[in-house]
Symmetry: C2
Subunit: 293 residues, 2 copies
Amino acid sequence: MSAQRADLSRCSLNTATVKHASLPEAVQAAAAAGMGAVGLWRHQVAEHGAETARAIVEDAGLTVSSLCRGGFLTAATDEGVRDAIAENTRAIEEAAGVGTRELVFVVGGLPGSSPEAPPAPGTDRDVVAARARVADRLADLAPIAAEHDVRIVLEPLHPMFAADRAVISTLGQALDLSAPFDARTVGVVVDTYHVWWDPELRGSIERAGREGRIASYQVCDWNLPFGATALNSRGHVGDGYIDFATISSWVRDAGYTGDVETEIFNEGIWAADPVKTARTVAERYAEHVAPHL
Amino acid sequence: MSAQRADLSRCSLNTATVKHASLPEAVQAAAAAGMGAVGLWRHQVAEHGAETARAIVEDAGLTVSSLCRGGFLTAATDEGVRDAIAENTRAIEEAAGVGTRELVFVVGGLPGSSPEAPPAPGTDRDVVAARARVADRLADLAPIAAEHDVRIVLEPLHPMFAADRAVISTLGQALDLSAPFDARTVGVVVDTYHVWWDPELRGSIERAGREGRIASYQVCDWNLPFGATALNSRGHVGDGYIDFATISSWVRDAGYTGDVETEIFNEGIWAADPVKTARTVAERYAEHVAPHL
């Protein structure tokens, strides 16, 4: 199926996929490929201001499918807690300002951890306690999100990032953490790269749908071999090992009718022409995802 | 605590940790460090024959804590199924011959997958079906294992290996697959590297203990940054991000009283003197694991 003939209204380009493009360039690339939306990042909103960023998207006839990202909630110190609440309050305000309800949260790893280094002396390895602090911070932030009519969207990250990036590792765990809150205030994102391997995935997607918490469906592929940086080893849909037909059908059956963002971290794709990348994203969406939605 | 004063009777050196040592060298290194056991690999047993391999271990005053590895059960073709049954029957016989009940199974990834390559045309991406075939092969092999008084020990591998090495990704999933079989015939290994991140880990370890299925406790650390090969990025206990005190106490509370194998895949450690490596393994076990067992 060619992207030209497919319905791309739900297809969204997360701008991290074209990392080196400016916001106007990324938006134009998405529009030229026929997509209906873009997913933005906070640094872009900060560069232009929320009002201008929103106008850049809307003037191109697109909508903002989500804003990345809040989170980093695992600090154990009073100062770290205060900073997390302040920073995420700003993120919530920006999401509202740029015209999306969906603010993706990457909740952070073990305090003091680094993807580039062994643990520093005194590193806190207690992942159980770090997860409990995430729950505490959500209780702090949910009322602020509700006040701005913004949803905190918890992103389970692949377990290979549990030490250094996100102590939420499964969709089921994200749903457990969401459970105390209204589904319009705390939701989850299903990102194929992070959750495809999960033996409980089907049940967790069904539960997420039942609870009205699927705020975003993100797609990219699991490529092997890993690149030099594991974080940046993701691939265009169809180039790797993920069964998009099956997972997309589960998301559809769970009642999700929102946008489908393609978010790829990959040095090679970042080096490519954004217009070509957006076209490839649209084609792969049309071929591997849209028929199963 | 120095390794010299600690009780190392449950401390076992998995010989993959000293990959370039011969079997006699590895056994001598473990004995010199004061350990009580070694975990062997099939290629070593094949090299010496089971009887001689067993004598090498026993003459040093050690026991065999486990044999690695059977598995690779995901083939979808008749030929692949026949091969898997034949090869695992040999592995079961070798485990019995070398004097251990515990035969570790790495169940294999998606058929046609490779850790070093993108999917070949026609690659089967259906991980749900691959997992169902693992269940079918266990039903084929369990009677053969029982006949030889050997236990098939399912190893959940870290989800980053789900495509190319093992479609069993969590301890809970391994227990579900074990459930149809007697606990003396199908069990599980708790390997910290593979399962430390799991939000359900405590409950799954409790369940494994209750069901009598903990066949082995393996330790090594989660190091960052990743090495050139993700598979070989494991570290000495204490060098990475894993909370050994907590996980070891869970394993203890689940009633496990067997050997604790250190199994590390790491190019740098492989290049070191096996005697020194074994001493470090013993010291780290004494400091980070033994006090919590």
